[in-house]
């Protein structure tokens, strides 16, 4: 289970959204406008089981997420889901990695304090003795021009998804 975000953890004015997370259900998230710059030279690395439950995080992941390692291990990866991300992007991610292929894309992640950070993410299935046993996700600093393109693209996609609803 994934608990709602706590206003006491959020810095500054925030907006409230309710996400409908696949396999989890509704989660209330609190979002500010603050962007945290991606740390130069770092890779943010995590691993999940086949259900998307976090099994490993590196120290860059912990630092950028704002959560403690204890809060992250055992939580669904969608703990980072930002309401500005289209559902279609994650649906494509899961379809791709479950086929055993690598997925790459730009992602806006939500921090515990309501701020966000952009990453260039690559997700690879962990194949051991011919079987997918989990997934490794590696994020790196994105080119700003690509982020600007994604801001516009994702806004259109999210608007379309809300219309369909």
């Amino acid at each position: 289970m994934l608990s709602d975000m706590n206003p006491a953890d959020v810095t500054g004015d925030y907006r409230e959204y309710t996400l409908d997370l696949f396999g989890i259900g509704p989660r209330r998230v609190l979002v500010t406008d603050e962007e945290v710059p991606y740390p130069d030279g770092c890779l943010i690395v995590s691993r999940t089981d086949t259900e998307g439950i976090i099994t490993h995080v590196n120290r860059s992941f912990v630092a950028m997420s704002g959560y403690t390692e204890d809060e992250l291990i055992g939580a669904p990866h969608s703990i980072l889901r930002h309401p500005d991300m289209p559902r279609a992007a994650f649906a494509d991610l899961w379809r791709t990695v479950q086929r055993g292929e690598i997925w790459q894309g730009y992602v806006k992640n939500l921090r515990k304090d309501g701020a966000h950070y952009w990453v260039k993410a690559t997700v690879i299935p962990n194949v051991r003795r011919g079987r997918i046993v989990g997934y490794t996700s590696v994020r790196r600093k994105p080119e700003r021009r690509k982020v600007e393109e994604c801001i516009a693209l994702y806004a259109r996609m999210v608007a379309e998804e809300r219309e369909v609803k």
């Binding site: 130069d40 890779l43 690598i102 051991r128 790196r140």
Partner: protein, 251 residues
């Protein structure tokens, strides 16, 4: 039976005599005959690996992937001195102060060291640089990468962080770091091939015990390694997965 032992060509030549000392020690404690064959170029190493001529290797992370996934090698130990990292540096008087100042068309000095080059290209990505839009100058050593920068023949250079730190002070003073990676999980590994499969546990035990006495501590010091740390199969698989994500480029 004699086994072939080799060391990845990216290893500093300053340490090569010490690998012969290490090889002598390995033979003595294991009772196995190892022939240390040093390759002066990555292409020679790849040919030897392809021909299944190698039994024991101090492998760079890029080759470790091939050795594990395609050749059935097992990682014995890794140096306990931190991970492999890369540095992007420019000449001290360069107009570039952050990676994002570099533009497509930049001239990048690099080496044939595949994993350091890969890490370096990842560090250049925030500037929109990739292999399609830069001019690469391949140098035989990190000192030559530095010289390229001094002479203004390249705009930025890719270094193994450890090699960058070992450059002489006058050389380092003429360079400026733009960014240093903090990837944490990419390592060289000492790896054993299938012909040594029944000796893996024994070799690993003897290697991790190195440094317990003054004589073996001295051998390790000569290699620039403080101690050997045992590694398990999953740790190497994890690094190989990570290297795959870094080298992934959609068609």
């Amino acid at each position: 039976m004699s086994y072939v032992f080799t060391v990845s060509p990216d290893f500093s030549p300053d340490h090569l005599p010490e690998w012969f000392v290490f090889n002598t020690w390995m033979q003595r404690v294991s009772g196995l005959r190892f022939h240390l064959e040093l390759m002066d170029h990555f292409s020679n190493l790849r040919r030897a690996v392809e021909a299944d001529r190698i039994d024991l290797i101090y492998a760079n992370p890029h080759d470790a992937a091939t050795l594990v996934r395609e050749k059935g090698f097992v990682a014995l130990v890794k140096p306990g001195d931190g991970a492999d990292e890369a540095v992007i540096a420019v000449s001290a008087d360069s107009p570039f102060h952050r990676v994002e100042d570099l533009e497509p068309g930049s001239r990048i000095a690099t080496t044939e060291d595949p994993d350091v080059h890969l890490m370096g290209m990842i560090l250049l990505e925030p500037a929109g640089l990739n292999r399609e839009n830069v001019t690469l100058h391949h140098c035989d050593s990190y000192v030559l990468v530095a010289k390229h920068l001094f002479r203004g023949e390249s705009d930025a250079g890719i270094f193994l962080a450890r090699a960058f730190d070992e450059l002489s002070r006058p050389v380092r003073e003429r360079l400026r770091t733009l960014v240093r990676s903090d990837i944490q999980v990419i390592h060289h590994y000492l790896m054993a091939g299938p012909r040594l499969a029944d000796r893996v546990d024994d070799l690993r035990d003897r290697l991790t015990a190195m440094g317990d006495d003054a004589k073996t501590a001295e051998i390790l010091k000569g290699l620039g390694v403080s101690r050997w740390e045992a590694v398990d199969e999953e740790e190497v698989e994890f690094m190989v997965d990570l290297m795959d994500t870094l080298s992934y480029s959609p068609a």
